[in-house]
């Protein structure tokens, strides 16, 4: 860095922030040199405490101008060293960026600055009956900015996914100091999924200043089971059995005896300390379903060898139980001052096997470990204990840790599920990421940050270390029933996969694509490649996920034919940058998909379909909003822990509503009543109702004869979208319900901005109320998207969408 002028930078920063928020004293710099990972790297030049996104952006611009590297820092609770500064860098702390926007219950969104704590978001959402799902154990301290940067997980990610699945938009500053707003809708389908790329990028691609977070409804009923096992392996096998039986709890946690003892010493909960493992299983949903699932779970756990199973008596006890679990990491400090905190993941079915392997490693190396599991995700945190004052003990501890990583990778696992690579796992990165994918990631970082100033030295090891040859793509379908995944080659039809899955009571939770009016849809011929490239899918699923949310792993080729592999068949995986979701919805413009792995979900039990005809004229927006509100309340009363589909389609002829889940007949009667009541006031005629077991709706999933869904998979953000052509609203999505307006429906009062790239709606109006979205920081970072496209496809062999072409012409 020849032009680096830290002295000038210091002067400007002090002028900008004042001496209290621009800290250069030795003590402060010593404190900020480390985070919870305790990995030293260097000593920062200065610590800055911006109070507004504007100040933050200015700081970044100044750093760029003076060519001084910077690192973002939230609460410094990260365990991989992602926020540790190098020598002479600027620490940009988000501690002062703590303003919280209003909860927008209609769209289930909240906008918060990146310094807001995770726990605060859920606390604010609670009065609206909503919650923010990702709940890392550090949630009382860790910030949203950090959660987004690390793609944080937590215990409650089994059913509803990790941070990536709950971020609807990000306001961020790129490494050139420019500000952008990236929404989910802007990036999917009509661009590249920058949102997914930024989430989990460990602060190397940009700095998040604020985030639109997607909230989900609080469950109506929760049951928490506590089980004790005389053997650790039996406990992990019990989890495999539990999920294999079609149950999908919201969280399944295991802690081993050592953790249990530490926690008991710290919190005096009353745990027995003579058992080998304790398990917490949490089941959420409607009360009948919860009661049913709870008793099934109890039986299964006992069969699997649990010595005691009991249910948390009340909410207080449940909260205490979770406090114990979440503070377990800290409590381990009581046993040992030093331990290697690992964060490995294996496919669920391999978990018991891995536990055995770890047992052998521990014996062979003569070390002691403590382990806490997010067992349902196959994610475990073995802590290998050592004494830093004893070199031999330190060496043995690290050797054991490396052996565990090897054992995990042999079983198709990942080096990190939620902590990130940072500094800590750089040395094992090359064991998992192949050389082509690794190079693509490195090029991508260089593309975003050519000067290497944005959190340099993290995640990626030197390119020379990357030697792994990409594995060949699988040729056909391969179901991993005990791990709940399916891998299929690009040409496999969705129908073929679903048919096989349905036999076992599972499905990829997406519907089939109906043949559209212009013949562009694919019907039963829809293939994996269409699913991934176009995000083509039928009904809204669960209101909580789309193809994007169940895609775990890809094999692909870049434009010039270099094969690579990205992701892993795991529900949690944050090793490296997210190439999987970059390919998802990119319309094939980056390369050719060869195969993909999806998550399987238990099948819903029941389905009901109601259709209403329009008598004459069109549906008023007010009536539609009323329907939306109605459907939203269903979410909470119906929400089975496994699957629900609620959605509706508005065409020129009428409205169709589908509900799938675990409704009892009386639930369906009530829903029908509600809908008919609504239809009467809205001037619609009830035409027919279909009720049957969900599996009976097989035609909906493999061959959509039903006039329900058209081609676009909804993404349930309130940032609505308009297609390029003529600017008619094709569909708008809000909350978990979707409507699709045919071009002839012109009642939607919308305010939208014309952009160079097409149409983009910023504001959704409903009569008398504005469901506002704050104006985006700027337009799409089109130059970044274009360069990303060029990186993957330098010769332009894969073609590119019109919007990108146009910008090329416009660019000088």
């Amino acid at each position: 860095m020849t032009n680096s002028r830290p002295d000038l930078l210091l002067e400007t920063l002090t002028r900008l922030l004042g001496p209290e928020r621009c800290l250069t004293d030795a003590a402060t710099r010593a404190v900020y040199a480390l985070d919870a990972s305790r990995i030293p790297l260097g000593s920062p030049l200065v610590v800055t405490l911006p109070h507004t996104p504007d100040e933050l952006a200015t700081i970044i611009s100044l750093c760029v101008e003076r060519q001084v590297p910077w690192v973002m820092r939230g609460a410094g609770t990260g365990l991989s060293g992602g926020a540790v500064p190098g020598d002479g860098s600027v620490v940009v702390s988000t501690a002062g960026l703590d303003s919280v926007g209003l909860v927008r219950p209609a769209s289930r969104l909240i906008r918060v600055d990146s310094g807001v704590r995770n726990e605060t978001v859920s606390r604010i959402a609670r009065p609206h009956g909503l919650q923010f799902a990702p709940d890392p154990s550090s949630q009382s301290a860790s910030t949203i900015g950090g959660n987004v940067a690390e793609n944080a997980g937590g215990p409650h990610c089994l059913q509803v996914g990790v941070t990536l699945h709950h971020v609807a938009g990000l306001e961020w500053v790129d490494p050139h100091g420019r500000r952008w707003f990236t929404g989910r809708s802007l990036s999917c389908e009509r661009g590249l999924d920058l949102l997914a790329l930024l989430t989990g990028s460990e602060g190397c691609l940009g700095c998040v200043t604020s985030a639109d977070l997607q909230l989900i409804p609080l469950p109506t009923s929760v049951a928490t089971l506590l089980a004790f096992f005389p053997e650790l392996r039996a406990a992990t096998q019990a989890v495999v059995d539990l999920l294999g039986a079609g149950l999908l709890p919201s969280a399944v946690e295991i802690v081993d005896q050592a953790v249990l003892q530490a926690v008991e010493e710290a919190f005096h909960f009353g745990f027995p300390t003579d058992v080998a493992a304790a398990m917490i299983v949490e089941i959420e949903g409607v009360s009948e379903a919860v009661a049913e699932d709870t008793s099934r779970t109890e039986v299964l756990l006992r069969q699997a060898g649990a010595s005691r199973v009991r249910q948390a008596a009340d909410e207080t006890e449940r909260q205490e139980l979770w406090t114990c679990r979440k503070k377990a990491f800290g409590a381990v400090g009581r046993i040992t001052p030093n331990y290697v905190t690992m964060d490995v993941v294996v496919p669920l079915g391999r978990l018991p096997d891995l536990v055995d392997a770890i047992g052998e490693i521990v014996t062979a190396h003569g070390v002691r470990i403590v382990t806490a599991f997010h067992a349902g995700d196959g994610n475990l945190h073995p802590g290998v204990m050592y004494d830093a004052r004893d070199p031999d003990s330190t060496a043995r501890g690290h050797a054991a840790a490396d052996a565990i990583v090897q054992a995990v990778l042999q079983r198709g696992g990942s080096i990190t599920g939620e902590h990130g690579v940072g500094l800590e796992k750089k040395h094992v990165f090359a064991l998992q990421i192949d050389r082509v994918a690794g190079r693509l990631m490195a090029d991508m970082v260089a593309l975003f940050d050519p000067a290497g100033l944005c959190n340099p030295g993290k995640v990626l090891p030197p390119l020379a270390e990357l030697t792994l040859v990409p594995p060949p793509p699988p040729n056909d379908m391969d179901f991993q029933w005990d791990s709940l995944t399916v891998t299929a080659s690009a040409g496999t039809t969705l129908a073929a996969i679903q048919t096989r899955a349905l036999e076992r009571g599972y499905w990829i939770p997406v519907g089939a694509v109906r043949t559209a009016k212009d013949g562009s849809g694919l019907g039963a011929a829809g293939r994996v490649v269409d699913l991934v490239d176009q995000l083509l899918a039928g009904p809204s699923l669960l209101g909580r996920c789309s193809v994007r949310d169940v895609l775990l792993e890809i094999w692909a080729e870049t434009g010039d034919g270099a094969a690579f592999h990205a992701g892993a068949p795991l529900f949690k995986n944050v090793a490296g940058f997210d190439l999987v979701h970059l390919f998802c919805g990119a319309a094939g413009m980056l390369g050719r998909l060869r195969a993909a792995t999806f998550q399987l979900r238990p099948l819903p039990e029941t389905a009901a379909l109601w259709s209403f005809h329009l008598r004459d004229g069109v549906l008023s927006p007010d009536d539609l909003w009323r329907l939306l509100d109605r459907l939203r309340t269903w979410d909470r009363t119906l929400s089975a822990p496994t699957c629900i589909i609620d959605g509706f389609d508005v065409g020129s002829r009428g409205v169709t509503v589908l509900a799938a889940g675990r409704d009892r007949p009386w639930d369906l009667d009530r829903k029908q009543q509600e809908l008919r009541h609504w239809a009467e006031t809205a001037g619609l005629e009830f035409s027919h109702e279909t009720r049957r077991p969900f599996a009976g709706l097989v035609e909906l999933l493999v061959d959509p004869g039903l006039p329900v869904w058209s081609r676009h998979s909804p993404d349930w953000t309130s940032l609505a979208r308009l297609p390029d052509h003529e600017g008619w609203p094709e569909f708008l999505a809000t909350g978990r319900t979707i409507w699709q307006g045919a071009p002839e429906l012109l009642w939607m009062p919308l305010a939208f901005h014309a952009r160079e790239t097409g149409w983009h709606i910023d504001t959704l109006f409903r009569a008398g109320e504005v469901t506002e979205l704050p104006p985006p920081a700027d337009t799409v970072p089109i130059d970044l998207l274009r360069r990303l496209k060029d990186l993957f496809d330098p010769q332009g062999l894969r073609g590119e969408p019109k919007w990108l072409e146009r910008t090329r012409e416009a660019a000088p």
């Binding site: 209290e20 928020r21 800290l23 004293d25 030795a26 003590a27 402060t28 010593a30 404190v31 900020y32 480390l34 985070d35 919870a36 305790r38 610590v47 405490l49 609460a75 410094g76 609770t77 702390s93 501690a95 002062g96 310094g115 704590r117 726990e119 605060t120 606390r123 550090s138 009382s140 301290a141 860790s142 010493e265 710290a266 503070k327 377990a328 990491f329 800290g330 409590a331 381990v332 400090g333 009581r334 001052p337």
Partner: protein
């Protein structure tokens, strides 16, 4: 131990802080795994965002001291310790069980090393008649200011800056409460009358009929029917309470008497010594301790508990001797245990602020809530970050008025963000500090001592 020896040879002025307790410090440091879960509980970190002023940061700096990597002349080190409020919220939150209480000793040392001076000679002030006069003078000044500048005089003066701002802060944060019983009753009656539309929570409805029944009143008047006799109490006055809030103390005694207790208030007692100890005058503190112990020893009659009104005094008194520590009872604890006269209906939302010395120092958290929950119609609401200190910290707020104001305003904002019609707390320091924060940010929200509200709810026993 070896780490300590490495630096103990250096001259005392630059020697390591806490040189007297190397074993304890080693324990302190090794237990901390730097997880950072203490950060959200630390008032100085929350107010400034500076991690060097957080428990984790301070421990890290301490470690570097002990390792001999730096000396106290390095800028920022001693300040980091000195800015610690000593609220011990970190100790409550720490999953690893780090005994942060040792910070307090370090703080005292930092105080002497940095040669800090208080703007007011607090330990000197802590005498009965001086505080009394202060109360009269401040009451008079407040009256004049509100006549002259209106009810939001504090906010107006705060805008002026400079010395005026500093004196107005002193005046604003001096604990005060309604002195006449009639005025207190009028105030709380008025507060209820102004908020008639309050929606009752389900808990209040179920609690309603029970105390209203005629039989209960009699039994309540006759404490401990068929049980052990009511405890015999010695009352520790505490200088701030006695000097500045004498009427609240009077109401407390009335309540205790109504519950059947026998109370003695020995003359000659003096300040517990906490102010002097934390204000850098340990010798004075020791003298005060001796005097108080002598007074207690002179009590001829048998007594069960020493009742302490301010949690800060309670904590200091517990340091006197282990034998005494077992006999000290916080007034709130005692009130929650004793059979008080049947409460009347108080239809208000109330938010309770936990004084750090009670909740973190003595683990008193359930008692005040139990006490408030027993009042029919009253709904207890919880604020955001209930465990974070208000920033009073005894002499702290005088030493760092700006930082203390920042913390006070944050606390006041969190309290005002609830649906509460009234804030209550049980420590004079918190009372003044939060009152000042409210005066600046939410002047419509009143704050009163917990005992005043309990006295009002339980019929105002002596009215």
């Amino acid at each position: 131990m070896s780490e300590h020896k490495a630096t103990s040879g250096s001259p005392p002025a630059t020697g390591p802080i806490g040189a007297g307790q190397p074993d304890d410090l080693d324990l302190l440091l090794r237990a901390c795994i730097q997880c950072g879960l203490c950060l959200p509980y630390c008032a100085t970190y929350r107010a400034t965002g500076n991690e060097a002023w957080s428990p984790r940061g301070r421990l890290l700096l301490l470690g570097r001291f002990l390792a001999g990597e730096v000396d106290s002349a390095e800028p920022g080190y001693l300040e980091a310790f000195d800015r610690c409020l000593g609220c011990r919220a970190c100790e409550t939150s720490c999953p690893s069980g780090v005994p942060f209480v040792l910070f307090e000793h370090l703080k005292a040392e930092a105080f002497t090393r940095l040669d800090l001076q208080l703007p007011l000679p607090l330990p000197w002030l802590a005498s009965r008649w001086r505080l009394r006069s202060l109360r009269w003078v401040s009451g008079w000044a407040r009256a004049v200011l509100s006549r002259w500048l209106g009810r939001d005089w504090r906010r107006r003066l705060a805008r002026r800056g400079g010395r005026l701002q500093r004196w107005s802060r002193l005046l604003g944060s001096l604990p005060h409460a309604v002195s006449s019983d009639k005025a207190l009753i009028r105030m709380l009656d008025g507060l209820q009358a102004r908020n008639p539309g309050r929606v009752d929570g389900p808990a209040t409805d179920s609690a309603d009929p029970q105390p209203a029944s005629s039989g209960t009143k009699e039994t309540a008047r006759d404490p401990h029917p068929g049980q052990a006799p009511a405890p015999r109490l010695v009352f520790f006055q505490g200088c701030a309470n006695h000097g500045l809030l004498p009427d609240s103390s009077r109401r407390l005694l009335a309540l205790l008497r109504a519950a059947g207790c026998d109370i003695v208030t020995p003359g000659g007692q003096t300040c517990c010594g906490a102010l002097a100890r934390h204000g850098g005058a340990p010798a004075l503190a020791d003298g005060q301790r001796e005097q108080n112990l002598r007074i207690l020893a002179q009590q001829r009659a048998r007594w069960d508990y020493l009742v302490v009104e301010a949690a800060g005094c309670g904590q200091e008194l517990m340091e006197y001797s282990e034998e005494l520590a077992t006999r000290i009872r916080d007034a709130v604890q005692l009130l929650a245990e004793l059979p008080l006269p049947a409460p009347r209906r108080v239809a208000l939302d109330v938010v309770y602020h936990d004084p750090c010395h009670a909740v973190h120092g003595q683990g008193i958290q359930a008692a005040p809530r139990r006490l408030l929950a027993a009042i029919p119609g009253l709904r207890l609401v919880e604020p955001e970050d209930p465990l974070v200190c208000c920033g009073s910290g005894g002499p702290y707020s005088l030493r760092y008025p700006e930082l203390a104001t920042l913390m006070g305003r944050r606390k006041a904002a969190a309290l005002a963000a609830t649906t509460a019609h009234c804030v209550v707390t049980s420590n004079p320091g918190c009372l003044g500090q939060i009152a000042d924060g409210l005066a600046l940010g939410a002047p419509e929200l009143p704050i009163i001592p917990l005992t005043d509200l309990i006295w009002y709810a339980h019929g105002g026993p002596d009215r």
